[in-house]
Structure formats: C-alpha cells, structure tokens
C-alpha cells in the first residue's frame, strides 16, 4: 500500500533515472527496428528454429534446476551441517563467474577430455558438447543459483511451526516436505522458477563455449542474435525483439497465474 505523502525528490530523481536507464535501451531497439521488413524476417526458418530451440532448452533447464535446486535449497535452509556457509557461497559462484569461463569449466568436466566426459564417451558413447543436451546443461549451470537463492529465501521466511506441528503429529520428514513445506513455499518456487527460466533463455556465453553454434541443434536465440549482428544490425534487432516479446508475454502470464502479483 502506498501512503499519500509527497515523494522526496532525493528519492524520486534517482528512481526515475534508474527507470530511464533500464527503459531507454529497449526504446532504442523499438525505434531502430525495421518494421517494414518485419514479417518477411519473422518467416525465416532459421529464426523459428532458434526460437523453438530456445524455448525448449530454457524449459528443460528450468525443470532440471527445479529437480536439483529445490532439494538443495531445502538442505541449505533446514539442515544444520558443518561447512554450510561455504556450500552456500559455492552455490552462488556461477552468478559471479563470467559465463564464458563457466562454459570452459563445463568443457573441462564434460568435454571429450573432461573428467566426467571422458568416461561418458567411453562407457556410453555420449558426448555432451555440440548437442542440445549440452545447451540445457550450460543454461542450467548459470540459472541454478537464481532458483536456489529464491527458494532458500522463501524457506527461511516460511513459518517453521507448521512443519514442527506436522512432525509432532507423526509425519516423517519426506511427508512433511511434500505435504507441508512445498505448498507453503510454492509461490517462492514459482518465482524462482520464472527467474531461472528467464536467465536460461538469455544465456549466451556458456552456451556458445560449451555447446557451440549449430542451427537447429545448439543455436539458441541469443547465439542467432550475435551472429546476425555480424551480418546486419537490423536482423539482430528483429531477433532480439522476438525474444523480448515472447519472454515478456510468458513471464507476465506466469506471474498472474502463480506468483501473486503484488501491485
């Protein structure tokens, strides 16, 4: 709820400047967009292939992050163990690591000569680099911390007495988790998932380094945008706009459905 007071200029001016700083570049994209040739550019098969791949990989990466991230967040929030602070710091490393370095690190582990990759290759003939699975892995690597942080915050903010009550009534830890904890922090998980998906959708550095760039297989929208810049700026702007429209639409829809929009 906003109170009916005069907003102090010392807050209003930087707030508006911050808003302008975020909105102006987007406006720049809209102003420079080649509206005349837009329909023709949209129909290019490579654009649709990249968009399809982007949506698919970002969604798969989010599912992977939910499967691994929610339990990890629960562990960090609900279990006392030695070195918990160190683990929490390690979880946030991909946030500060340049994505390109993340891609190289993934190669060193899952690549053909990597510790895990070598074994995967020899035992099962699986090579992750240059495959769609590699894209999902790269996106999950950079997006997972967002989910873990969001869900852990929700867990810490949730009232633990409900869980204690369930435990005194004889529920085991797993039942408590599935029947009490999860419903309790569902909005937090949804918000984290949305954030995670958005981050995965925009992932560029780790993807191009680890999964390479091949149309239809590993060329996601951000990669297509980067290469379109090499050709002509207008094509890149169009691709960026498509990505913007699609992600904003999906995020807005999700917000209203699951994440209580606090307006």
């Amino acid at each position: 709820m906003t109170t009916r007071q005069r907003v102090p200029a010392a807050l209003l001016v930087p707030a508006l400047l911050g808003l302008a700083f975020l909105v102006l570049p987007l406006a720049g994209l809209l102003i420079r967009a080649p509206w005349g040739t837009l329909p023709a550019r949209l129909a290019e098969p490579q654009v649709l292939a990249a968009l399809r791949l982007s949506l698919l990989t970002a969604t798969l990466a989010t599912v992977l992050c939910l499967l691994l991230g929610v339990p990890l967040a629960w562990l960090l929030a609900r279990v006392e163990f030695r070195g918990r602070r160190l683990v929490r710091a390690l979880v946030t490393v991909p946030l500060v690591l340049p994505p390109v370095v993340g891609g190289v690190a993934l190669l060193l582990v899952f690549g053909r000569r990597g510790i895990v990759g070598q074994w995967l290759d020899q035992a099962f003939g699986i090579t992750l680099p240059f495959s769609t699975a590699g894209v999902v892995l790269a996106e999950a690597f950079v997006a997972l911390p967002f989910l873990v942080i969001a869900v852990e915050g929700a867990l810490r903010g949730a009232d633990a007495r409900y869980e204690e009550a369930a435990a005194t009534l004889g529920a085991g830890r797993w039942t408590t988790f599935t029947h009490v904890t999860l419903p309790l922090v569902a909005p937090g998980i949804a918000a984290g998932g949305v954030l995670c998906w958005a981050r995965a959708l925009g992932e560029f550095g780790a993807t191009i380094t680890f999964a390479g760039n091949f149309p239809g297989r590993t060329q996601t929208m951000p990669l297509a945008v980067y290469l379109a810049l090499e050709r002509d700026v207008e094509a890149a702007i169009v691709l960026s706009l498509i990505l913007l429209v699609v992600s904003v639409t999906i995020l807005a829809a999700l917000r209203d459905r699951w994440v209580g929009s606090a307006t």
């Binding site: 570049p25 720049g28 420079r32 190669l107 690549g111 680099p129 240059f130 390479g212 990669l223």
Partner: protein, 260 residues
C-alpha cells in the same frame, strides 16, 4: 537516435576499458608537422583490428611506441564484423584493420572512412589439428570421414566466408563465432579439426599443427586497413598505417601472413 546510439556505444567502450578518447585530443603536433619522413607521432591512437591480427599488431604497437615515446596506442581486437558495427555506430577509433574486404565494405558504405582502404597483408586457410596429427588428416577429403568432429567458422564471419569460397562441403559440429573460438575447440580436444588461418596455427604452435590444403588458394583473404573519418588523431593514424606497410611488415610475415 544515431547520436544516442553512438553515445551508448562510446560509453560501453569506455566502460570496457577501450579508452578511445572521444574528446578533443590535443596532440602535441604544434612543433612537428605530420609529414612523412620519420617525424615523431604523439597522442592517443585507437586501433580497431581483427582478432587474427592480435599477436602481430601487439608487436607492431610496441615497436612504434618505442620509437615515439609520446604515442599511446590502444588496440581493440574482435571479430571484424562486430568492430565494423561499432565503428558505424560512432565508436571513437582512428584506424580499422579488417580481416576481409566485405567487412571493410560495410564501413566504407556507411561513409565512416577517411581515405581509401588498402590491402596490407593476406592470409590463407589451413586445417588445424591436435599436436602430432593423431587422426592422420592429410587434406580436405579427410574431414568428411564419419566420426570426425570438425569446427568451422560461421558464414557471417570472414574465416567462414573464406571456407565457403574454398569449396569446403564438410558438415561441422559447430559454426564458431570467430576464428579464435574455432581454434580453441581444437586446443581443448573437443573437435579433431578446424579450418582457421595459417597465422592462428602459427600463434598456437605449441598446441596445434597445421595441415595445408591446395583448395585454400582459391580463398585467400585480403586484409584491408583504413583511417577513419572521425579519427581524433589522424596524423598518428596515417603514421601507424605507413609503418604497418613498411617496417611493420616483418612482424606480420613472421606471424604467417603473406605480403600483398
């Protein structure tokens, strides 16, 4: 809007530490005229150059700064097309050295150049393979063998365009965004071969070997260089190009480039 974009690009470049001074430089050119004949060059000079020129231009920059103590050169290396875009959006640069006539054309088409571009070196494609050539790759035909992983450059960048011109019809596992990225995939052992420039293989001689192939003669890449229209330091820009085309050529040929 162009102005706004230019400002944004400039700000980004400054943030990225590409210290191109867009303000009115005061090169101490009051005493000496900028006529040829070994006059001292001075002031800030910003050179935008293709990634494949990194090692040789760094050396040329050191040589030139040693001869001209008042000169400070800042290099911005990257994919030629990306650099061309930055220049066309008003990035404050003095010199542009591109890895292909096509990318130079986008700069001249938008009127961002001051003089006519000149070709200062040429570069040829080779097949980069792991040290010792474990897969026994002898030519282009080998690259189509099943089970062999090949990295090419994307067609949008010069090394990819050159490969296409040379008639390469290999199905790669990846189309890299620049030549150094394609080479890195060979260094890391993720692919068995990549089509890169002879100079790139020379620069990475400790990690990779190069296999020459005759078809590459059909796609020798010309490297044009030009002074830019909004160059804050035209005198130094002209001096730099003059040096690159004379004494500086030694550094370039040692790196594997061919004289034009």
């Amino acid at each position: 809007m162009r102005r706004t974009m230019a400002l944004v690009v400039t700000a980004l470049l400054l943030l990225a530490g590409c210290g191109g001074s867009g303000s009115d430089e005061s090169p101490a050119a009051s005493g000496g005229s900028a006529a040829p004949g070994g006059d001292a060059l001075s002031g800030q000079l910003t050179v935008f150059a293709a990634a494949s020129l990194t090692e040789s231009f760094d050396r040329i920059g050191q040589e030139l700064q040693a001869r001209n103590p008042q000169l400070f050169i800042t290099f911005n290396y990257g994919g030629s097309s990306g650099l061309a875009t930055q220049i066309n959006e008003g990035a404050p640069a003095d010199v542009f050295a591109a890895a292909s006539p096509a990318t130079m054309k986008s700069v001249t088409d938008s009127g961002s150049n001051a003089g006519e571009p000149v070709v200062f070196v040429r570069n040829q494609l080779v097949i980069a393979v792991a040290k010792g050539n474990p897969k026994g790759i002898a030519g282009l035909a080998n690259l189509s063998e099943p089970g062999l992983k090949v990295a090419l450059c994307a067609e949008e960048v010069p090394c990819g365009a050159a490969a296409k011109k040379a008639g390469v019809t290999v199905t790669p596992v990846t189309l890299e965004q620049d030549v150094k990225a394609a080479l890195a995939k060979v260094k890391l052992g993720e692919v068995d071969a990549a089509l890169v420039y002879r100079t790139d293989v020379k620069a990475a001689a400790s990690d990779v070997d190069g296999v020459e192939f005759p078809e590459s003669a059909g796609a020798i890449n010309d490297y044009p260089i030009v002074v830019l229209k909004d160059a804050p330091n035209t005198a130094a820009a002209e001096g730099f190009i003059k040096y690159v085309r004379s004494e500086g050529l030694a550094a370039l040929t040692e790196a594997g480039f061919q004289a034009p």
